[in-house]
């Protein structure tokens, strides 16, 4: 799926397309869909604020083989929804520093999109219930395994792993029954 859908453009902000898969029951926090295709900016705020990102879940599938049934949001939607509509309340707290995030317009520093940003993005724009079961202290909750292109994220720098177009990220809960 490499660069086929990615049209190089100098005017529009560059985005990357990612495939997200859930396992071990974690999909239940994300509307029950096991497979999601999302598009996020290639460069993102250093403080992981997702306020300026528009929800760009291209499609969600309940299984990897299924055809898309109900795309939650269309890609490149013309009118970005207000960032305060999903779960995340207006009181965003930077869980790493513990301080309140500055207004996203105030801090213009950016970084290449990484897994840490993706986790914040997923919480703010994709999660449908109980964010505390997904995220804790700025990262995924202990007991959730993350694989980046089938490699244990502990070998890829965890949250600091930079993402590129076409990457596949798998989140598996180990906390559900044996």
């Amino acid at each position: 799926m490499a660069a086929s859908t990615h049209t190089p453009s100098t005017s529009a902000p560059a985005t990357i397309s990612l495939k997200i898969e859930f396992g071990g029951g974690l999909e239940l926090l994300f509307g029950g869909a096991r497979s999601h295709q999302v598009r996020i900016p290639a460069f993102v705020p250093l403080n992981n604020s997702t306020a300026s990102a528009s929800p760009a879940v291209i499609a969600s599938f309940s299984s990897t083989t299924e055809t898309p049934t109900s795309p939650t949001t269309l890609a490149a939607s013309t009118t970005p929804t207000s960032p305060t509509t999903p779960i995340t309340p207006a009181t965003l707290v930077d869980t790493i520093s513990g301080s309140r995030l500055k207004d996203h317009d105030g801090d213009k520093r950016t970084k290449a999109a990484d897994v840490e940003y993706l986790i914040h993005y997923m919480r703010d724009w994709m999660l449908t219930e109980r964010p505390e079961l997904f995220m804790e202290a700025g990262t995924v909750r202990p007991g959730i395994l993350v694989l980046i292109n089938d490699t244990d994220w502990e070998l890829e720098g965890e949250g600091e792993c930079a993402l590129k177009d076409g990457d596949e990220i798998v989140f598996i809960s180990t906390l559900h029954g044996g």
């Binding site: 396992g23 502990e154 070998l155 720098g157 044996g178």
Partner: protein, 357 residues
């Protein structure tokens, strides 16, 4: 980040970081070390003898699915000479157990093992759905735990097996150690860490995954694309265990060896003789023949409470006293079929094992 080579073969790309050792290894080496460690556990603990009939307690979840796969693999690779069966208990929970049993039925095909399903309804005349509708969601885990334990033993007796293996992993055992310490249940500490438990007249139960980390079991299932079911039981999950689990995961995040350390500390507790003496002597239940520390086993007590509509008032001791106060059990009370233990001679035809449904 530049791909690192595997610490074992030095060739392939490392894909897993082992929680126990921090070693970074490739997929094939991971399969090999995971399977070999389980094999070493089996050999060092002398779990089986050639010709043993072994039932794998199968729930359709990750642990028992991986256990069935690994037991089959090791039995063939090292010629253990075991006859393997899948044994599932159907608690009768609509939307949960019925779905996970579908997974077990697929495992039966995939692993080519005979499957026996024993239901609460068949054994006790009550499904968990019916129990919950009478007792509510607060105490239902007590019923389920007592009924499951006896059902597994009885299913194993029907299969005439020598041994039941369950998918309890290192995380589960560490969690149980923590819970027993927090409850002050020192008598149970020793038993919960032992790899194999055998009651007076029960079939041996053991845990070949005693030293296998949950992370590795889940990684193994993921890389092998094993078919497992993962949904929490719809009835009130054990909240106490849930907290112990979250605590353990936090400890593990800070220090991965915490899980093995806790198991070792559980093993290190020695039970003094006087404490052992206060543990009750095993006898058999006068109503159903199952082993029991009282005249009536826990399952019969709970069942009588259900049948007499008194299960709400509490659990076991209190219920028993109340029922005794109200006079003897009515004649028409539903009973659990009398338990006859497997004693060398197959009491029940082996063909029940080939439950093809």
């Amino acid at each position: 980040m530049a791909p690192r080579p595997c610490a074992l073969c030095q060739k392939a790309k490392a894909m897993v970081k082992r929680p126990k050792t921090g070693q970074q290894i490739c997929r094939d080496c991971f399969f090999y070390v995971f399977e070999t460690e389980v094999h070493n556990t089996i050999i060092q603990s002398k779990l089986f003898s050639p010709g043993d009939r072994v039932a794998i307690g199968a729930s359709g979840g990750k642990d028992s699915t991986v256990l069935a796969y690994v037991m089959k693999t090791l039995n063939e690779r090292y010629q253990y000479g075991l006859e393997l069966f899948l044994l599932s208990i159907d608690e009768g929970i609509t939307g949960y157990r019925d779905d996970s049993l579908e997974t077990v039925k697929r495992n039966q095909q995939q692993y080519d093992m005979p499957l026996k399903i024993l239901s609460y309804n068949e054994l006790y005349g009550w499904t968990m759905d019916a129990i919950v509708s009478q007792v509510g969601r607060k105490n239902n885990c007590t019923f389920c735990g007592v009924f499951r334990r006896q059902a597994l033993d009885r299913g194993a007796a029907m299969l005439n097996v020598d041994h039941i293996v369950t998918g309890h992993n290192a995380d589960d055992i560490a969690e149980t150690v923590l819970m027993n310490i927090m409850r002050g249940d020192i008598a149970r500490l020793g038993r919960c860490t032992s790899i194999c438990t055998q009651g007076e007249d029960t079939i041996c139960r053991s845990k070949p995954f005693k030293y296998a980390y949950e992370k590795e079991i889940v990684m193994y299932a993921y890389f092998k694309k094993l078919d497992y079911f993962s949904t929490e039981c719809i009835y009130s999950p054990d909240a106490y265990r849930g907290h112990a689990r979250a605590f353990l995961k936090d400890l593990e995040a800070a220090r991965p060896s915490a899980i093995i350390d806790i198991i070792h500390s559980g093993e290190a507790f020695e039970i003094k003789e006087e404490i052992k003496a206060t543990q009750k002597v095993q006898q058999t239940c006068q109503r159903c023949g199952y082993m029991s520390s009282n005249a009536l086993c826990k399952a019969c007590t709970l069942l009588e409470g259900l049948e007499r509509g008194m299960a709400n008032s509490g659990i076991t001791d209190r219920v028993r006293k109340k029922m005794e106060a109200e006079g003897p059990a009515p004649e028409n009370l539903r009973n659990i079929p009398f338990f006859t233990q497997a004693s060398g001679s197959p009491a029940i035809a082996v063909s029940v094992a080939l439950d093809a449904t």
